[in-house]
Symmetry: C2
Subunit: 396 residues, 2 copies
């Protein structure tokens, strides 16, 4: 495992000792990156590790993991589109990619002696925090919109978390955590307001490389809410180049968002360096309802440096992509994941992507977390054909 050398501010470059757990840069409030003394680990040695994200222990902190078996999810070659791969994050514990970041975040919180953790969440991060806190015997305090999918509610309460439902968005939840955390003694594990969730998420970048034979794809389409995974992968690529595991080629980093909440797309199209708070955010892809990502500059930088782009898709386009993955690939995706496929279709149509380019689409979670969302959506639409056969029948 790797020794942590220091925390480094992604904005002002300030270096900070890792003796205590920090949130953000004390000088400029920028997000902190973890820097390591790596030594010279061999990339092939990961094959001897477990079938979890901890197989990359040579580039992760030297601690006892709080693990539920997260990471090393399948990289499925598409059966419909040549050169396309589906990275199926739905097979993580708690059914989403959030398990990586929160698994690592809770691991490090326990290491640093934290007893209570608070999170504002669009839903799936809350479920993951609740699960890992249960495993680590740490108190979890969760703030999420009252209209999150039913799964998130039942999960968080079952794990024994303290849950507050907010009549608002994740940004409103974040304000409540910020205001109460000092008095309550909560460690704030909000997206990019502590350095370790991105360390968990970066393992997606290592997996993309390992699973494609240490040759990065031409593009990655990533459903972007807070954007931690995108930044984590970007960090992983830098680290791997530094370690000599890969060369300097980078995939185009492409953000998929919903038209009902597309702050990344707006900032990208307007050539801005920061993002504005999106008003009246709404989409059935709950995880994309993040009106303003905290690491806006860093996301836009990775997109620019890689020749990437950002695409917004409608809820109907998302649901069409969901159906395509289910019917043609056997993958029951989260709406956020389906947004990546919908974005791929648009980018092929526009000519930005060519069919011969190797593209990885991230399905960030299992559709099982959105059963009530699908039920509601499809009930509004005309009955699917299978229902015609689906009348209830009396047995003999």
């Amino acid at each position: 495992m790797a020794k942590i050398s220091h925390f480094e501010c992604a904005r002002c470059g300030e270096k900070l000792a890792p003796a205590t757990l920090l949130n953000v840069c004390p000088k400029c409030a920028g997000p902190l990156w973890v820097r390591y003394e790596f030594g010279r680990p061999d990339r092939e040695a990961v094959k001897l590790g477990p079938a979890t994200m901890w197989r990359y222990s040579s580039v992760l902190p030297d601690v006892e993991p709080v693990t539920l078996g997260e990471g090393f999810t399948p990289m499925l070659p598409s059966r419909k589109h040549a050169n396309v791969f589906i990275k199926d994050e739905g097979l993580n514990p708690t059914g989403s990619f959030k398990a990586r970041g929160l698994g690592m975040g809770v691991t490090m919180a326990r290491f640093y002696g934290v007893k209570k953790i608070a999170i504002p969440s669009a839903g799936n991060a809350a479920s993951a925090l609740a699960a890992y806190c249960a495993a680590a015997k740490i108190e979890a305090h969760i703030f999420m919109p009252k209209d999150v999918p039913m799964a998130n509610r039942i999960e968080c309460e079952s794990y024994g978390a303290h849950v507050t439902y907010v009549d608002g968005l994740i940004s409103d939840c974040a304000k409540m955590v910020a205001e109460r955390k000092q008095a309550e003694g909560w460690f704030d594990i909000s997206t990019l307001k502590e350095p370790f969730r991105v360390e968990g998420k970066k393992t997606m970048g290592y997996e993309v490389a390992e699973q494609l034979g240490w040759e990065l794809p031409d593009a990655i389409i990533y459903p972007t809410g807070g954007g931690v995974g995108l930044l984590g992968m970007w960090k992983a690529f830098e680290e791997m180049e530094q370690l000599g595991w890969i060369g300097s080629k980078r995939p185009k980093m492409i953000c998929a968002q919903a038209t009902g909440c597309a702050p990344v797309v707006k900032a990208w199209e307007e050539h801005r360096e920061t993002m504005e708070m999106w008003k009246d955010a709404h989409t059935s892809a709950a995880g994309l309802r993040v009106p303003k990502p905290y690491a806006d500059r860093e996301i836009l930088h990775a997109m620019k440096a890689s020749g990437g782009t950002a695409v917004a898709v409608t809820d109907d386009e998302i649901m069409a992509a969901f159906s395509s993955w289910a019917r043609e690939e056997g993958v029951f995706a989260a709406p956020e994941g389906a947004a990546a496929l919908a974005a791929y279709w648009k980018l092929i149509e526009s000519g930005y992507l060519r069919p011969e380019e190797k593209v990885v689409l991230f399905n960030t979670g299992s559709g099982l977390k959105y059963i009530d969302v699908f039920e509601k959506y499809f009930r509004k639409k005309e009955q699917p054909k299978s229902r015609a056969l689906g009348g209830i029948i009396q047995p003999y």
Copy 2:
């Protein structure tokens, strides 16, 4: 990969050529086992394989897999009970252990040229069949009780399967498949009425061995509906001994059932060799609502030969175990899986199991498949404590 030598009837020993895909023994209607010409595969070579059940390709049929990344699920050491492990099958594609059997069943159906498959199901097998049929471009015809969990309905319809909801149990569904299959040209992939689902499920036995260092545990507690997994593991142990991968020690094979549908427990306690149809089967653990397992003799034989037993637990005991796993282990289990923990508690209390015995509990699926079941159950009970904090709050 292994060459299939022949099919062998588990009851009468009849040997049959594997040139065509068969259902059951044409002589006695017993379930068919697949026998191989194994050669001398090395158990350590599996570590170089993929992190799926196909890592055991040296003991599986030599075909192109229809895969969604099934198998090689986590073996989590319990944080509460020393010497207990949770085999978390919820991290499979389609969220349950059914992915193994149906992944293999559909793989072989495609290999043999099957175009249409029918299944009677308690719910999760239907979802898995629908997913693998979508991937394999085979028509899926599903018959399941009208009151299956919502997830099973949405999954099957999303995957594009032809679904018939039956006002009855899986046994009623089975009758409907049996009556229509010849006219419709359906291949019947019912539990143990074809030889390959058990080949997929046997990989659980290989994983138990590999993940515990090729030393089998003292006991395995297995939530038993149709019992394919139990028989698959039992077959795996035999094969591994034949291959020299393990010795002759066997774990006690213990069936966990619900008091509302416990045909295995009843037959076991009455020292019978076959099981009777359970009347008025009911339990919130939908997968355990199998009134009469087809392979009744074979299940009872494995229990007897291993010094095992069978235990029935109530729905309240199941839900208490579900809560314990969520709050103390961070595992959000299916009710069927929780039945294994409830059974463990009972067997420790009765003295049948001692705390120093190494025991593997199978969580057969993700709790995400039962969100509506939990919602209904917990709404009936008094509000959990966290709800007190869970009122909806207006943000500033």
